[in-house]
């Protein structure tokens, strides 16, 4: 195993005793960040556009996520999604959105430095029970919506909302939307950007039925799915054999409506049983409206009576936001368990 370490691999011990190897450095190119005073901690993801590493800023001690992009396609130069995407991200400055801190270049590599928080909503949900998470739901949901409304007000689609892209800072009690892919603007032609929209369980049904234009209601649908997941503890439309939505989508559109109403009634009862207040069920139903044109907007959802006082109750003033079990999942653990 020692030998493995020599070739830039990090040996990660899993909880069940098995050992897995992570290529922590990916390539020597990532070593470059040392010159800018960053230390590579571990690789946390591999996207269509590049690799994402968790790093430490040695000057400030802050954690960052660095996305490394290799410009391979020389005949085209710097790809347009990168120019347009970074220009957009540079414009965004909001409490509920992870910041793009810096853009570094070296040779034909571009490094995007993002703000980073250690806990994501996915693991937050898994660590909580239905009862212990309940006091946090409103404030987390409203912060997600505030962030999303900000995106939409800047003509930007998130496009990949899911619990692992919602980061939580326990200290400042802030919820931040992250997207280490690149967000797409709907002001510019964006067909070519949407490579990676295959089979996410947070994808709205209309995008599966017809190849409709990606638009703001898709994001709201995803928030609805996240909302339900916070209440029940399980993904609303899990991937795999029991993919309710795929099942539904096979029927004609009007059939879907009937089926969905049945499904929805079951679900609503179930969520009410889990202690969600009736206004919450109402809001969820508006966010999961099958017709994207009738689906509530992020701003509309914020005005819903369910969230009327949510902004006053910042997480700080509610029950202290602590994980019930003390063992916070380490990132390497999560990566090795393939939960990323």
């Amino acid at each position: 195993m020692k030998k493995v370490k020599d070739c830039c691999y990090k040996v990660v011990k899993k909880t069940n005793g098995s050992v897995s190897c992570l290529n922590i450095l990916g390539s020597e190119q990532m070593e470059k960040v040392k010159d800018w005073n960053y230390k590579v901690v571990e690789k946390i993801g591999q996207g269509v556009f590049g690799e994402v590493y968790k790093c430490l800023n040695l000057e400030t001690g802050k954690k960052v996520a660095i996305k490394m992009i290799n410009i391979q396609n020389e005949p085209e130069g710097v790809p347009s999604y990168l120019i347009a995407g970074v220009s957009l991200l540079k414009e965004l400055e909001h409490d509920n959105i992870v910041r793009l801190l810096d853009v570094l270049t070296s040779g034909r590599y571009v490094y995007l430095v993002f703000e980073y928080l250690d806990l994501d909503l996915g693991s937050f949900i898994r660590k909580h029970t239905a009862t212990s998470i309940r006091p946090h739901i409103k404030t987390i949901l409203s912060q997600i919506l505030v962030g999303l409304a900000y995106y939409h007000s800047h003509n930007i689609l998130h496009g990949d909302l899911q619990p692992s892209n919602v980061l939580i800072d326990l200290k400042s009690k802030k919820v931040k939307l992250a997207d280490f892919g690149l967000t797409t603007s709907f002001g510019v032609p964006h067909i070519e950007y949407s490579y990676n929209e295959v089979g996410s369980p947070y994808k709205a049904p209309e995008s599966r039925i017809r190849s409709s234009v990606y638009s703001t209601p898709h994001d709201v649908w995803a928030v609805g799915c996240i909302f339900a997941e916070m209440v029940s503890g399980n993904p609303l439309f899990p991937c795999g054999k029991k993919d309710h939505l795929s099942l539904i989508v096979r029927y004609l559109e009007d059939m879907i409506n009937n089926l969905f109403i049945c499904y929805w009634q079951d679900l609503a009862e179930q969520l009410l049983g889990l202690g969600l207040e009736p206004p919450g069920v109402e809001l969820l139903s508006q966010m999961l409206y099958l017709d994207p044109d009738l689906r509530v907007t992020a701003n509309g959802a914020l005005l819903h009576r369910y969230l009327r006082h949510a902004e006053d109750i910042r997480i700080a003033e509610t029950v202290p936001l602590k994980l019930p079990s003390s063992n916070k999942p380490s990132f390497s653990q999560k990566v090795s368990e393939g939960r990323f």
Partner: protein, 153 residues
């Protein structure tokens, strides 16, 4: 706010006076090349406008020796390429851009210039242009005709 933050460094007008005659000539030549290139590829007017903005923003922040005028040619290729990527649906390959008027550099050189340009502009490439307001004004002034008839986007 956005306009100011995107604008040129303060005192830009003084600086442009300070630009040497050589640079001024090269700049005019570069602008002529940009306009010609726009016509050849049928780009939108906004693409040419953005290219010239990038060119001037770059020249106002970085100094180019008067004996390195070829650098301005290279810069204008990078400006057009980046502007086209911001604005156009169909972007020509770098080699196609160079085929006009003996502006011949090589893809990897242009790639590096693009990165340098982006870095100099702090990756803020989405300047506000007068084109954003045109539709609004046309709607105000000519109530009967829809803007799309008067002006192609």
């Amino acid at each position: 706010d956005k306009e100011i933050s995107f604008g040129f460094k303060r005192g830009e007008t003084d600086k442009s006076v300070m630009l040497s005659d050589d640079i001024k000539c090269a700049r005019l030549e570069a602008i002529a090349w940009i306009l010609n290139t726009r016509a050849v590829f049928g780009f939108r007017p906004k693409t040419a406008y953005l290219s010239v903005t990038y060119l001037d923003r770059f020249l106002s922040t970085r100094f180019i020796d008067s004996d390195k005028l070829w650098a301005i040619k290279l810069l204008s290729v990078a400006c057009v390429s980046v502007a086209a990527k911001m604005e156009e649906v169909k972007v020509p390959a770098l080699s196609e851009l160079q085929n006009i008027d003996g502006y011949n550099f090589g893809n990897s050189v242009i790639l590096r210039m693009e990165l340098m340009l982006l870095k100099t502009m702090d990756w803020r490439m989405g300047s506000i242009t007068p084109f954003a307001f045109l539709h609004h004004f046309i709607r105000k002034f000519c109530k009967d005709s829809s803007p799309s008839n008067v002006l192609p986007r």
